[in-house]
């Protein structure tokens, strides 16, 4: 055989051989030398495909196949995206010309594939505002052209139309046009065509988008999510559904036991469908139209288990003081060690590109950062000490360094609000801003109580309060009862005499509104239960996580404002004091202790009075010597 005339099939095979060789060796790429070898192989694969295009007469089908593979290689492995784009647009022209002579279904599908690459995959790789905008414009045009098609060959057109409506939503999301993206998702969900698996996929993307921006998920969308079954979606998308449902519970600080049981049940039957592969699954949109969806953290058992462990830790974090429920204490170190193992073994068995591998490592490092962050917060809950975050460029440190520093300073007794003020004025995510606002409010309201800069600080407190209410409304946090209860308590302690020396002005209406809220929270969460209780109140909606601090505050207020019976009041103050002793804030111990001393004195419990006097003297000594 003459060397210059290797058949196209052989060259095509070579391209794949180079690519395969590179992908099976991703795990050996440990340094610059291997990196060069890896890319030499990729380069050979690219050149082989280009060679085929330049040297052989190809059928339209072959042309399509070679060009698309070439474009994908260039997108994944190189920065030569303009080159990829020019290959794509000339392919699009050739397909168009071809369709004049033979308008087959296959050609139509190939054109649509081409559009998908240039409107979705390529802009995502470029990740620039400029290119997203161009793609959005072109996507608009394409969607318009679907409208113009008079019902010929309707079935397929409708499915493709919903594919590009989906692309359109994603481009808006990437451009940061959130309300448009959300509206787009809603429209798409209501008029989507195609298989029910495709509808499930769109719902999952929709809910994921809302969750990632902490937006309220409306009941109709929640119903769509709940409607996703394993039969409709297949095991992998079903896992994604369960993970999102778990996230919703965690975000609302609700009990996750039934979610965990659901996973347990699922694993007992379907674990094998999540065995280690490349973490992707195929979604069938309609006849012959498929999407490959890649989501390794959820679609692979070993990764999913680790993600679940992290979410459990976060959910149980406020319980870390409780020896019977301090799961975070044992789970977080497990998350760290499991993630390190995953990093070490990552790609061992896999067959994929270095950029996929790189993304995977990135997501593992993020999990590690999260686990470390929550370990730090756990120490904060247990000891009142919050270690500043290491200054590096990761997502966690970008989100939280300023907040952690401000809270750490406050815990050390620094009452300046400078740190919080900076966060409030800067552009940060809503949740971080809200936490800064709420702590800043306490500091300022406390100055009001002490009579420092009363007028100014009161005005400032009012503006902080308005901002807090706005953010709560804007996000999903209004559904979180830990926040709801905290807001109620803060309003009362800053507006009612026993808790502040200078109550801020309020109407009787407001007072009775907040007292009503307090009564609801208190009845469900009080630490001294009366016998006939529970039946009416234990509906779970207002049930709070057993945070020590929140229990003390809620029961202190409830005990002072709502309880009448002296025996019960004494019990409440006694338990509150014991809880406060577990918190290291001496000032809080003192205030609660004085209350219990007072109650014990009124109840003429001389033994308790003697004990409390001596304990309080000790606390006073500790505070003075500090």
């Amino acid at each position: 055989m003459s060397t210059s005339k290797l058949p196209a099939d052989v060259i095509y095979h070579l391209a794949h051989e180079y690519e395969n060789q590179a992908y099976t060796n991703v795990c050996h790429v440990a340094g610059e030398a291997e990196l060069k070898q890896y890319y030499t192989l990729i380069m050979m694969a690219i050149k082989a495909l280009e060679y085929i295009k330049g040297h052989y007469p190809l059928s339209m089908e072959q042309d399509f196949q070679v060009t698309v593979e070439l474009v994908i290689l260039l997108m994944k492995e190189t920065h030569n995206l303009d080159l990829a784009e020019s290959y794509l647009s000339s392919l699009r022209e050739r397909l168009k010309n071809h369709r004049f002579t033979a308008a087959t279904e296959l050609l139509f599908k190939e054109s649509m594939h081409c559009e998908f690459l240039s409107l979705y995959e390529l802009p995502l790789r470029r990740n620039s505002k400029f290119h997203y905008q161009i793609a959005l414009k072109n996507c608009d045009k394409l969607l318009q052209s679907f409208e113009d098609v008079v019902d010929a060959a309707k079935g397929n057109y409708e499915v493709w139309k919903s594919v590009f409506a989906f692309v359109h939503v994603n481009l808006n999301a990437k451009l940061g046009k959130r309300s448009r993206a959300i509206a787009g998702f809603e429209k798409l969900s209501s008029e989507i065509s195609g298989s029910s698996q495709w509808q499930a996929f769109v719902t999952l993307c929709h809910v994921s988008y809302l969750l990632s921006y902490r937006k309220t998920i409306h009941i109709s969308i929640l119903e769509n999510l709940q409607g996703i079954t394993i039969d409709i979606a297949g095991p992998k998308l079903y896992c994604w559904t369960m993970v999102l449902q778990l996230f919703i519970q965690v975000y609302e600080d609700k009990n996750i036991t039934s979610n965990l049981n659901q996973f347990k049940h699922f694993f007992s039957q379907h674990k094998t469908s999540l065995l280690d592969d490349d973490g992707s699954c195929t979604v069938e949109l309609g006849k012959g139209i498929n999407l490959k969806v890649s989501l390794p953290p959820i679609f692979r058992y070993r990764d999913l288990k680790n993600v679940l462990l992290l979410l459990q830790s976060v959910s149980f974090l406020v319980n870390c003081h409780d020896k019977k429920a301090n799961f975070s204490t044992s789970f977080l170190p497990k998350v760290c060690s499991a993630t390190r193992k995953l990093i070490e073994s990552s790609s061992d068995s896999c067959h994929w590109s270095l950029s996929d591998h790189d993304d995977e490592l990135g997501s593992y490092y993020h999990i590690l950062d999260c686990a470390e962050f929550y370990q730090n917060w756990e120490t904060f809950l247990l000891t009142q000490r919050l270690k500043p975050l290491e200054k590096n460029n990761n997502r966690i440190s970008k989100l939280y360094s300023a907040l952690v520093e401000a809270m750490g300073e406050q815990a050390k007794g620094n009452v300046s609000t400078e740190g919080y003020d900076k966060i409030i004025k800067s552009k940060v995510v809503n949740e971080v801003k809200l936490i800064a606002l709420v702590n800043c409010f306490v500091l300022k309201a406390s100055e009001v109580s002490k009579g420092i800069g009363k007028e100014d600080n009161m005005a400032y407190c009012n503006s902080l309060w308005t901002q807090m209410e706005n953010i709560l409304r804007e996000t999903d946090l209004w559904k979180n009862q830990m926040w709801g209860c905290t807001m109620t308590l803060l309003w009362l302690v800053s507006h009612l005499e026993p808790f502040t020396s200078n109550p801020m002005p309020s109407t009787d209406e407001e007072k009775s509104q907040y007292l009503g809220l307090l009564r609801n929270y208190y009845n469900v969460n009080k630490i001294v239960k009366d016998e006939m209780q529970d039946a009416t109140y234990d509906n779970g909606a207002l049930k709070l996580k057993r945070s020590i601090l929140l229990q003390i505050l809620l029961n202190y207020l409830g005990g002072r404002l709502l309880e009448q019976d002296l025996t019960i009041i004494c019990q409440v103050s006694g338990i509150c004091f014991r809880l406060a002793r577990q918190q290291s804030s001496l000032n809080l111990q003192y205030v609660i202790g004085i209350w219990h001393l007072l109650n014990s004195t009124v109840a003429m419990n001389n033994k308790e009075v003697t004990i409390m006097r001596s304990k309080l003297s000790g606390i006073v000594k500790d505070i003075v010597s500090k």
Binding site: L6, P7, V10, H13, L14, E17, Q21, A22, C27, A30, G31, L35, K36, Y38, T40, I42, M43, M44, I46, Q62, E69, H79, L124, S128, L211, F247, T282, K292, V293, S294, L295, I298, V314, D358, D359, G362, C370, F380, L381, L403, A411, G413, V415, V432, V438, V442, A445, S446, T486, V493, T500, I548, L588, Y590, I594, L597, L598, R613, L616, S617
Partner: protein
């Protein structure tokens, strides 16, 4: 009550003032948590590879390769962001060793190599309008 411990000190007697040095740490922040899955969803369209036939093994065993690119085109490859020093560098495996004879020959005949400066985090021209 005649007197109580700390009565004449400036230790705060009101709950609000006692909260001054007690940050509300029961509000566990969860921003960033969703990124463990949120940033990684990716959809693509699989294509079937059926337009070419598989060549015979003996063709691949031949050792006379051709130059696939006389023009010697250059590309700029993506440098991984996360350091890839997990595997032991000592096991420097020649990852191109297991290629078929023909693939090796073509590689040699094409005579191209990727250099350090061809692998970049990003192009300079991308700096301006990247999100």
């Amino acid at each position: 009550m005649s007197s109580f411990p700390g009565e004449n000190t400036d230790i705060p007697k009101r709950l609000l003032e006692a909260l001054e040095s007690q940050p509300l740490n029961h509000l566990i922040p969860k921003a960033g948590l969703f990124d463990i899955i949120g940033t990684t969803v990716r959809a693509s369209m699989p294509s079937d590879r059926s337009a070419f036939s598989t060549p015979l093994q003996e063709v691949l065993n031949q050792s006379r390769g051709i130059n696939l690119d006389p023009r010697k085109s250059k590309y700029v490859f993506r440098r991984p962001k996360n350091n890839i020093t997990m595997a032991q560098s000592s096991s420097t495996k020649k990852i191109i060793e297991d290629l078929s004879p023909l693939a090796k020959e073509c590689l040699a005949a094409t005579g191209c190599e990727v250099n350090h400066e061809d692998i970049k985090f990003r192009l300079e021209s991308q700096e301006n309008h990247n999100l």
